[in-house]
């Protein structure tokens, strides 16, 4: 099973790298693309710089706060490792070079390299976010379609009101509701902890379902409303009447004709929503005690392991920035106006 994990992990990295580079390559062709690339580099530098400076911004001596009961003797090698004896910018350069190579510093409470912990945590977090997004779209799309089709009926009104309420509830509240009723009282799901897919797929999904659902509900509400409003507009277009005049059934018209043109906003929202998902995932991991990056970050902050915090913040931020750049590039490629122009050429 570990082999499967490794292969999947490898594929994921491959897809990400190829995706980002490919899209960037396409984008670089244009002047706007080159400008964006420059901005990207600047943003990455600033973000990593900020992450790096955390160790100095936080109160106290960087080495001592991480290992409070050590003697000065014991702290010296730590200071060396962190590079505290060098000038600030040199520290940054060294840290950055290490970071890019995958050396994320050390957690001084356990004395283990942060890289080890992150390696295991990254998968968990990605799984959580992916499952949540998938679940959200899976449920929101049919709901949105039916609500649009039955706009104005009780179904629509209930769905809309429900969605409005759901948006007002933070994900962790849902988490507790689910834990209490579905896990504690009904016993269908475990209340916390994590089981890897490789170890036991069934248990894996049982453990991940409630966390993913808690994250997803807020998203479902938003996506459903977006899709519904878009579809209501689309359904008033002439080509829908035309489809009806061809004698096609309502369900065919809804799903084959109306859905595709209406999903643009939805997909944009889903793509742009990852920032909220990341934040939500941090809290959900805490509630369910899932050993992901979020929990890692929280623990690092709690135990004042600021070298680790540097790494977590930098890693999450860099991944986020790259992902947004990728989506941005993808849109410039898929934008119908550009496709139009290309088709006309």
């Amino acid at each position: 099973m570990d082999v499967v994990r490794t292969i999947l992990g490898f594929l994921l990295i491959l897809v990400v790298v190829v995706g980002v580079l490919g899209v960037l390559a396409l984008a670089v062709g244009t002047r706007a693309g080159r400008k964006k690339l420059l901005q990207l580099v600047v943003v990455l530098l600033v973000v990593t710089f900020f992450s790096f400076s955390l160790i100095h911004l936080t109160p106290g001596d960087p080495a001592r706060t991480q290992k409070p009961f050590a003697t000065e003797e014991q702290l010296r090698p730590i200071r060396d490792e962190i590079g505290l004896n060098d000038p600030f910018l040199v520290q940054y350069k060294d840290w950055l070079v290490n970071f890019v190579q995958g050396d994320f510093g050390r957690d001084y409470s356990t004395n283990l390299p942060v890289k080890d912990a992150i390696g295991k945590q990254l998968g968990v977090s990605l799984q959580l976010i992916f499952y949540a997004q998938f679940l959200a779209l899976l449920i929101a799309i049919p709901l949105g379609v039916v609500a649009a089709y039955r706009a104005g009926t009780w179904f629509d009104k209930v769905a809309n009101a429900g969605a409005f309420g759901a948006i007002a509830v933070p994900p962790f509240v849902f988490a507790f509701v689910f834990i209490f009723y579905l896990a504690v009282q009904a016993g269908w799901f475990p209340t916390q902890q994590y089981v890897a897919f490789g170890t036991d797929p069934a248990e894996h999904f049982k453990h991940m379902f409630l966390p993913a659902l808690s994250l997803a509900i807020g998203q479902i509400a938003i996506y459903m409303r977006l899709l519904r409003s878009d579809m209501i507009q689309t359904l008033q277009e002439d080509f829908i009447t035309m489809a009806k005049a061809k004698g096609l059934t309502n369900s065919r018209i809804l799903w084959r004709h109306a859905l595709r043109p209406s999903s643009f906003t939805l997909l944009t929202a889903a793509a742009l929503n990852f920032g909220a998902l990341i934040g939500g995932a941090v809290v959900i991991e805490f509630v369910f005690q899932l050993p992901g990056m979020g929990l890692g970050l929280i623990q690092a902050v709690s135990t004042r392991q600021y070298s680790a915090v540097q790494a977590y913040v930098a890693l999450i931020a860099v991944a986020f920035v790259l992902f947004n750049a990728f989506v941005d590039g993808l849109y410039s490629v898929l934008d119908p106006r550009i496709r139009h122009a290309r088709a006309a050429a």
């Binding site: 002439d238 061809k246 096609l248």
Partner: protein
């Protein structure tokens, strides 16, 4: 052998072309009303419209925007939503009453027996679906044929509507085609299953003038080949002039004149029809000739006026017109119906016009185009 899918009742030729109905008119519309319930009140979009249409014949429905012509075509075809719409009257297709048929029943008719072409091909074609798919979808749905055969049929259809390189076009999207081609595609989709009746709702309005004639010619040709009845809805008299057998002129939701085409143009009775004809600019006119316009606007249809609806803008209007609505009656030429108290070309009509001119009544527009008034004042004057 092409069999009809999902139309269990029409499996045999005998059922599809019942002999009794081969004699009667294809479409019979009697006293159809279509009203919309809105927050402002009930809109009388179509009131008491009746006509009938035989196979292979063309009816032109002419009127300004707001005359109800589009609502009429959609109403007859049954495409209006159920909510907030009141539909009354009888609509018989091949002798069978469809006025109160549900959507499920109508679905058997749409596409296979009755079809519609819409005004703007850009918005009427699905922008994210390939052209070929939009045609074959209809074919595969109504006919029991294979996908390959459907594709062949689609290609043949495109050729028959005059689209060059049909194979290539099948794989293109609507935005890749010019306006004229898109309209041809729409015609192809409409004709795909060989309907008996075609509604053409302003088929050329969104097109270039040079392309308009081509499209109209194409429609006529297809109609002849297929022995198809056609209802041509337009605001442009020029479109219907040489291409229809009969013309119905609509105003404010009612048919105000109906006649065989040549009769209408030769011997029009309604002042409205006359005004329409005279508003067409002629090639022979000198440059800078003033365009003849009909002053004012069509009336609000929420509470339609009691009398003749055209009265406020009519050069022949008299007191009677404002208080009593003229009934639709037949003139001495059979088949020519009109609704007017003081028709054009009659002694009463000419008298009325002269009286109005003398009194300086604003709506009295003459052939010299001396039109001035606004709707507001004349409406107020005539109550």
């Amino acid at each position: 052998m092409i069999r009809w899918r999902r139309h269990e009742r029409a499996d045999t030729t005998a059922e599809r072309f019942p002999t009794e109905t081969l004699e009667g008119p294809l479409l019979e519309v009697r006293d159809v009303k279509t009203h919309f319930r809105t927050s402002r009140g009930v809109v009388h979009a179509v009131d008491d419209v009746s006509f009938s249409l035989d196979r292979g014949r063309t009816l032109g429905v002419v009127g300004e925007s707001g005359s109800g012509k589009t609502v009429l075509s959609r109403s007859v075809m049954g495409l209006l939503p159920k909510k907030h719409v009141i539909r009354e009257g009888s609509i018989k297709f091949e002798g069978r009453e469809i006025g109160n048929a549900g959507t499920d029943e109508m679905r058997h008719i749409w596409g296979s027996q009755m079809a519609m072409i819409f005004q703007d091909p850009m918005t009427s074609l699905n922008p994210v679906m390939k052209v070929g798919k939009q045609i074959t979808e209809s074919l595969l749905y109504h006919l029991d044929i294979s996908r390959t055969y459907a594709a062949e049929l689609a290609e043949a259809l495109l050729t028959s509507v005059g689209i060059p390189e049909p194979k290539r076009r099948l794989n293109e999207y609507p935005h890749q085609l010019s306006g004229g081609l898109r309209q041809r595609v729409m015609i192809a989709i409409a004709l795909a299953c060989g309907p008996k009746l075609l509604f053409a709702d302003e088929p050329t309005t969104a097109l270039d003038v040079t392309v308009q004639a081509q499209i109209l010619d194409l429609l006529q040709e297809q109609q002849r080949e297929r022995f198809m009845a056609m209802i041509l809805v337009t605001h442009d008299l020029g479109v219907v002039a040489g291409r229809t057998d009969e013309i119905a002129v609509m105003y404010a939701g009612k048919i105000v004149e109906k006649a065989p085409t040549s009769v209408l143009f030769r011997n029009m009775k309604m002042p409205y029809t006359e005004a329409l004809v005279h508003s067409i600019p002629k090639l022979a006119d000198k440059s800078h000739t003033r365009l003849n316009v009909i002053p004012g606007r069509p009336p609000q249809l929420v509470n339609p006026p009691v009398g003749c609806r055209f009265a406020p803008r009519c050069p022949h209007a008299q007191e009677k017109c404002v208080h009593e609505e003229p009934p639709l009656r037949e003139s001495d030429v059979p088949g020519h119906l009109f609704a007017c108290w003081f028709p054009v070309g009659t002694p009463e009509g000419n008298e009325a016009l002269a009286r109005n001119r003398a009194a300086g009544v604003p709506a009295a527009v003459g052939r010299d185009g001396a039109a001035t008034a606004s709707m507001g004042s004349s409406a107020a004057e005539l109550g």
